[in-house]
Amino acid sequence: MIATHLPVLLILAPLLGAILAALSRNGVAAWLIGLVASALTAAVAFALLWRVQAEGVISYRIGGWAPELGIEYRVDAVNAFIVVLVGIVAVLTMIFARRSVLAEIIPERVASFYTMMLLCIAGLLGIAVTGDAFNAFVFLEISSLSTYTLIALGRDRRALVAAYQYLIVGTIGATFYVIGVGLIYLVTGTLNLGLIVERLASLQSSRGLIVAEAFIVIGIGLKLALFPLHAWLPNAYAYAPSSAAVLLASTATKVAIYLLARFLFTVFGGHIDVGSIAFGSLLIGLSLAAMFLASAAAVVQNDIKRLLAFSSVGQIGYITLGLALANPTGITGGLLHLFNHALMKGAAFMAMGAIVLRTGTAKLDELAGIGRVMPWTAAALTIAGLGLIGVPGTSGFVSKYYLILGALEAGHGWLAILIVASSFIAVLYVGRIVEVVWFREPAAAAREASEAPLEMLLPMWGLAGVTIWFGVHAEWPAGLASAAADTLLRMVP
């Protein structure tokens, strides 16, 4: 009974949690509700994954309506993968958030913070599982609006400006997306992704489709911070409350990338060749620009959260590069990197959250020698950093290895070199952190600090641990990513 309703349960759990949290008006209760709801979500996500692996694609019709009329939730290897990722991060973030939120959010707003968190999670999961283009827009808006609020809840006044900018940019993106979806509806007369695919097959002219695709890709591009549409992201992540930054960095852009991949390969894949030289090289070019320029910008940042945010833009470049390669290995690499990057960036932002909690600052020059007093936190940050570089033994290496392999398979030897060359920039910014954190005499802020509380260390080390674990035993995530890639390329039914 429950098993058949899993897809909708996935959305309902956080959604209901959000309502309850909003009603509770009590910080502690709201946190508990959030924790339970996200734990439930994660459990459902894993159950979904298990079912997909066991039985193949799951189609769930809301209210039993046919896809032509109603909304279909459709879970396959691709979004099961994403859903699991969001589920894991959601739970860990909730565990982590309590202390951080107490310190960063004024007490009256704590409950609404958790409400927004849960809403955001619900929205992201919705985007992931829905098989309906317009429904995706709705969920996109839910997650975006809650995100704006989350960012604005930050104490720093710059958070407001950042949230406002994100609001505008996000709205432009959503608008672009909805325009694209509208165009598709005009052409095909349906919003269901599966039906769109079927009906596109009989389409004569693809002119309208091209414009639709353009709007959709650029619209999602804005959400996923595709270079050069990324400028909203660094400030948003840097000034958002620490736990919000963890959630956003690990999931928000990732889900947007999923949506992009879904449209590119599943919807348009059969008609507009993604691997075509023109389009492929545009996406490759933008990805490379992100990998180099955003990483370079990260090198000179003094605020570590901002540094990590720029790093995110750069790492997204790797993911989109993997997609742009449009071969199984490349896409596997891209999706795997999506997964790995979410985990390690989550660990990094958690570590920064802990450091901010203890020292009140995220400025590199004020954090000299922090490794002496917060060794576990600093170690987690270091491991995440090594993962960002792609040092072997960390999960970052495995995904980059697949990317290089994909580039070589595509016959782009130079691209392989550029991938590793850009990783070298990561050495620079991670090296800066490591050097200051471990090998400098402790600064004032560091001398007064102490190690982060256990409830923050645990989720942080959970993520740092899997960064190492998946670096040594990457078969599970690599298998998931590979299955997802095959699904995207329709190599499996």
């Binding site: 792609g390 290895y401 392989a416 070298f424 050495v427 090296g431 400098r440 990457a474 078969e475």
Partner: protein, 485 residues
């Protein structure tokens, strides 16, 4: 009788130093216990490695599967003669180096000693992993771990100069390995369909001659630890580190890891025959030759003792690279022997340099007047090390040079022969003046040796330098077995 199986021993070889790291970290508050832990681990490791050595000489090739990272990427160990040679050298020298470190670190009141010993142990563990790796991926992993674990050692003094040197060190090593070595490995995997080492190579017939040469270049320059010019600058820069670290870098682990990698790749990825027939390594003869001569000329003019030794190392490493480039069975034997010979001689030289520094705070050649009269044991050992660097019998340095020269004349590569001729004279020209200064100038003080632990260590390695010449049996057998796998 043999209750420890080979795979267990193999795992122990990595686990012992790694475990020592933990023990050292926990015993940080009790220096005596901490040092005891280091020495104990070193002795145990020596026992394990020697047992393995006996088995390998008897024909065993122990294997151990650690983890499957992803399809095509496995972490696995397998002992072959070349790796055994390298591991035996490193394990043996770890004991002496530990002994020496104790004398040095205490004699100079160095700070952060716990960190020092801990990182040292990780580096040894990584070296074992590197030596025993059974595929390119495993080798790469341990190569990087070695780079990272030695970074805190290079920056040990934490002065601005040390931090700068550390940056150069890490950026060069990691940078080259990522930008060049990693693509080379991936390319190899793609072309050969496997990353496993196989004597005779896995690339035969898989690539054209030009592509082979390019791939070989990626491997050689990607392995910046081998310090082939122009990727050599990190080595003299890293001289800011305490002397036991320099000894580790130059003799035991880091640079040897570099030349070991190049040699291993030549033998077990390309295959000597493939290199020979395709001529893919011919260009390297010239690059290595240039490095040898240029490094020697720079060393000639360096007044700072450790800098001179550093450039000497660069030159000596390129002998091994030259051997790999000559790509013949004899050359491989020479390279293998030279790894062992250079290790024991160069560590002697660095020990002596550190001993002179500890006793007299002398760092420059021009300050060494009469120091041989004041520290006869130290400088006597230095003299033996220097003879070995020149390659004169009866010192170990002769062994490697002999076979490499054999390979060069055998291939009638007169350029390589000329390089060896010139560099031998240059080596003499920059080492002998140190000796004349130390022994022939009048001493300006009473006799005063370095702490006993240091003197013992450097005497042992100096004796080893001569002993290796007189009894080269075991390393020679190992080196001869390299081509057989």
């Amino acid at each position: 009788m043999n209750f420890l199986s080979d795979p267990t021993l193999l795992a122990l070889a990595l686990a012992l130093p790694a475990g020592a790291t933990l023990a050292i970290a926990m015993l940080g508050r009790w220096p005596n216990l901490r040092e005891a832990a280091t020495l104990l681990a070193a002795l145990l490791l020596f026992g394990v490695v020697m047992t393995l050595l006996a088995h390998v000489l008897a024909g065993a090739r122990p294997e151990l599967h650690l983890a499957s990272v992803a399809p095509g990427l496995t972490l696995a160990l397998k002992i072959d003669p070349l790796g055994m040679l390298f591991a035996a050298v490193a394990a043996t020298l770890w004991i002496v180096n530990s002994l020496y470190s104790i004398g040095y670190m205490r004699g100079n009141d160095e700070p952060r000693q716990t960190m020092f010993y801990a990182c040292f142990a990780i580096a040894i563990s990584a070296t074992m992993g590197l030596a025993f790796s059974s595929n390119l991926f495993t080798l790469f992993v341990f190569y990087e771990v070695l780079s990272l674990s030695t970074y805190p050692l290079v920056t040990h003094k934490q002065s601005p100069a040390a931090m700068r040197a550390g940056r150069v060190y890490l950026l060069t090593l990691i940078g080259a390995s990522m930008v060049l070595l990693l693509p080379a490995i991936v390319w190899t995997g793609l072309v050969a369909g496997t990353l496993d080492f196989r004597t005779g190579g896995i690339l035969a017939g898989k690539l054209g001659d030009d592509a082979l040469a390019l791939l070989f270049a990626l491997f050689v320059f990607g392995t910046a630890k081998a310090a082939v010019m122009p990727l050599h600058r990190w080595l003299p820069a890293a001289m800011v580190a305490p002397t036991p670290v320099s000894a580790l870098l130059h003799a035991v682990a880091v640079v040897k890891a570099g030349v070991f990698t190049i040699l291993k790749v030549s033998v077990s990825v390309f295959g000597i025959e493939t290199l020979q027939t395709s001529g893919a390594s011919q260009w390297l003869v010239y690059v290595a030759g240039f490095t040898i001569v240029a490094a020697s000329i720079i060393a000639l003019r360096a007044d700072d003792l450790k800098r001179r030794l550093a450039y000497s190392t660069i030159g000596q490493l390129s002998y091994i690279v030259l051997a790999a480039a000559l790509a013949s069975p004899v050359a491989v034997i020479g390279a293998g022997l030279h790894i062992a010979a250079h290790a024991v001689s160069k560590i002697t030289l660095f020990f002596a340099a550190g001993s002179v520094y500890t006793a007299e705070h002398v760092t420059r050649v021009s300050q060494m007047d009469g120091i041989g009269r004041r520290m006869p044991w130290t400088m006597g050992a230095f003299a033996i090390g220097a003879l070995s660097m020149i390659g004169l019998p009866p010192t170990a340095g002769f062994l490697g040079k002999w076979f490499i020269l054999d390979a060069a004349t055998g291939a009638t590569d007169w350029f390589a022969v000329g390089v060896i001729l010139v560099s031998t004279v240059l080596n003499a020209a920059y080492f002998l003046p140190i000796l004349t200064r130390a022994f022939l100038r009048p001493a300006n003080g009473p006799r005063q040796e370095a702490p006993l632990a240091m003197v013992i260590a450097l005497t042992v390695t100096a004796a080893g330098t001569i002993g290796l010449f007189l009894f080269p049996g075991v390393p020679f057998r190992l080196a001869s077995m390299i081509m057989g796998g």
